[in-house]
Symmetry: D2
């Protein structure tokens, strides 16, 4: 079985055992992703990048991923496909010659 399939099945099993699918509408899942990514951000507050606690980063990043995979599953999205598609679009928005070493937004290049 592939990585992402195994992750998704584990998350779905966890959710279903607790009968939580009823709460997991797409809007609240988007809220959950935001809340978890702010908990990740908090690990860096008032700190330099290197001062954050790696063990806590693992946990909060795992939470971001977990809700992101659950939202993908809700819409039957192929996570690899949507990411590779987005990379292709971004390659058009950010051509190498224009964006090398520069992090301006594509509409400011």
């Amino acid at each position: 079985m592939k990585d992402i399939e195994e992750i998704t099945q584990t998350l779905v099993k966890f959710r279903n055992e607790r009968d939580w699918e009823q709460f997991h509408n797409a809007k609240d899942l988007a809220l959950a992703i935001n809340i978890e990514s702010s908990e990740l951000l908090e690990l860096f507050l008032w700190k330099t990048a290197n001062e954050a606690d790696i063990e806590k980063i693992k946990e909060e990043l795992a939470d971001v991923f977990a809700y992101a995979f659950i939202l993908a599953e809700k819409y039957n999205l192929d996570v690899k496909e949507i990411i590779l598609d987005k990379v292709k679009r971004n390659a058009n928005k950010y051509p190498i010659e224009k964006s090398k070493g520069i992090v301006k937004k594509y509409n400011e290049l």
Copy 2:
């Protein structure tokens, strides 16, 4: 090659071709995850869960995943491992018999 390995390699190649690793410290990557997850959230603003545009959801969710994978790569984290570890911890915090059909926080159960 496994899914996650292929995704990560694609993202790293995209980044390196543009010489963007210099900007990608862990703190700013945590900011980027937050910003992308808010763009995802915006698709649901003033709407019910079903009214959001699925094509835009694919793109914004892909962005959340992309920065999350890039942050994981920065710390050499095994994404499957950190998620499965977190699910185990959550299984202890949220025992099935106590949390079935209930979405209270573990410290309120």
Copy 3:
């Protein structure tokens, strides 16, 4: 008329002229505050604190304030009162002698 009263009346007038109160339930207003505060955050992405554009900061910070005042108005909250109350609580959680020059969370002091 006091500052906050004038701000609130201006925002309410703007909202009511557009008949937008129907969309402004408290949950979506909390989403809007998050979305605006991420747009503020984006002004600092990949940058040091000093490199952000002050004119854009004014606009995004104004948006954060605007939705925060609208949410306060929704619950008939006195903004000055809730802030001064919170400062008092924080003064108990963060006694000067323990927290001077230290930004640990109160439960880690």
Copy 4:
């Protein structure tokens, strides 16, 4: 003394007594606003707008305001002025006749 002046002075006094200004660069203050607004958002997670706890809303909304006022103070911004300026811009972007009862973004009107 005006409301906003009194709020700002109270917050600045609290900060200075703890010698925290050293940590309060504009970028981390923008992070703090995001983190607090996510804590506010969390009060609505998996809930309808009416199910959130008003006492907790007061506290989290106060935190959002507190960091927003501290950031405004950092740049010597007049909070009333930046909000009223933004309302004027928004009145141009969202003319009453076009936006009455509609919450599309101005570039989709």
